[in-house]
């Protein structure tokens, strides 16, 4: 599912010409990227929703003005980054609150025992592994979380879009990605060693 720049350009041009189906396809194609940028900057779901909405509204009025319609994904990533920064700076004046994703995770935890009864054993294992991975990701540095969260977008963004989302050179994405993934592996390894010391952490019926 790599980015097809021609396709993005075709969609952006057709949408600029007034085709609602192409617009819908654009939204579906790049929603994951825009959301990931806002969440990468660790905005709350409410603030991320605000950034998401403003970014897409901004595009509706600027469709015909984008210099490179092929790069509409990068345009969206840049706009989402700037709106995210705006939100971060505006809320810096207010009392900072912890990101609530950790709380969201707790809810997933509460629900999962019932689900795992329904799911196959393998699926339950997959959920547990995904949760462990997500928890380890949340412990990474802000910079690593920003980069990796954007790389996690579905479908995967290209490096130009990632660079636009972070305002960093395309050339430094690869090395930073490798370093952050390495740190993530380190966290996962630490946690596994911890789990051995606490065998009851993994319940066996």
């Amino acid at each position: 599912m790599t980015v097809d720049p021609d396709q993005a350009g075709v969609l952006a041009r057709a949408a600029a010409g007034g085709d609602p189906a192409s617009w819908k396809a654009l939204v579906e194609r790049f929603s994951g990227l825009v959301w990931s940028v806002a969440r990468g900057y660790r905005l709350s779901p409410a603030d991320a929703a605000d950034v998401f909405q403003t970014t897409w509204l901004r595009l509706t009025e600027n469709l015909g003005r984008i210099e490179n319609p092929e790069r509409v994904g990068a345009w969206l990533a840049t706009t989402a980054r700037r709106e995210s920064l705006r939100t971060v700076r505006a809320s810096a004046r207010v009392i900072p609150t912890d990101d609530d994703s950790v709380l969201d995770l707790g809810q997933v935890d509460d629900r999962s025992p019932e689900q795992s009864v329904l799911d196959s054993e393998q699926a339950a294992l997959d959920v547990a592994a995904a949760r462990r991975l997500w928890g380890a990701f949340r412990e990474l540095s802000a910079r690593c979380q920003e980069l990796l969260r954007i790389l996690m977008a579905t479908p995967p963004p290209n490096y130009l879009e990632v660079a636009s989302a972070l305002d960093m050179p395309v050339g430094s994405i690869g090395p930073t990605r490798a370093r952050c993934l390495q740190r993530l592996r380190g966290k996962l390894t630490d946690e596994v060693s911890g789990a051995v010391l606490r065998p009851h952490a993994h319940k066996r019926a």
Binding site: Q53, T54, E61, R89, A130, L151, Q182
Partner: protein
Amino acid sequence: MRDEPDDTELEEELRLAAARFDPVPPGLILAAVDAFTWRTIDAELAELVFDSLIDHDDLAVVRGSPQDRMLSFQASGLTIEVEITGTGASRRLIGQLVPPQPASVAVQAPGGGPSGVRALADELGRFSADSLPAGPVSLHCRLGAETAGHSVVTDWISM
């Protein structure tokens, strides 16, 4: 160096975890699809060229208090300077059209319907509005006296 396939695999696992734990809210996608029908076709766009919250500019610090947000929108032959003061219910918008001219200004919220907040710019191009809606807004300016002039809309901003 770790090998590339491992990194690709780990990134793919992260993607699946993100899709599970932090997906795009479906309602947001629907709203973004709908946004296409609200776009203005018959008005000129005034592009956001300065936002004191994003663009560092010493002048903004001089001009207003740190609590205030200064915005500047640029269309051909028209600049719309906007200052937003206060927070929450006491939020207030003060605007200036350059060059100065009368206009009718509507604060537009997403969804096509007017937010109900309107203002009249006087002969000196000054206008102000209170009771601003939360979330993204765009200013729709009809220039000139009454229905005479052409329309200019600003880029969407969020407050």
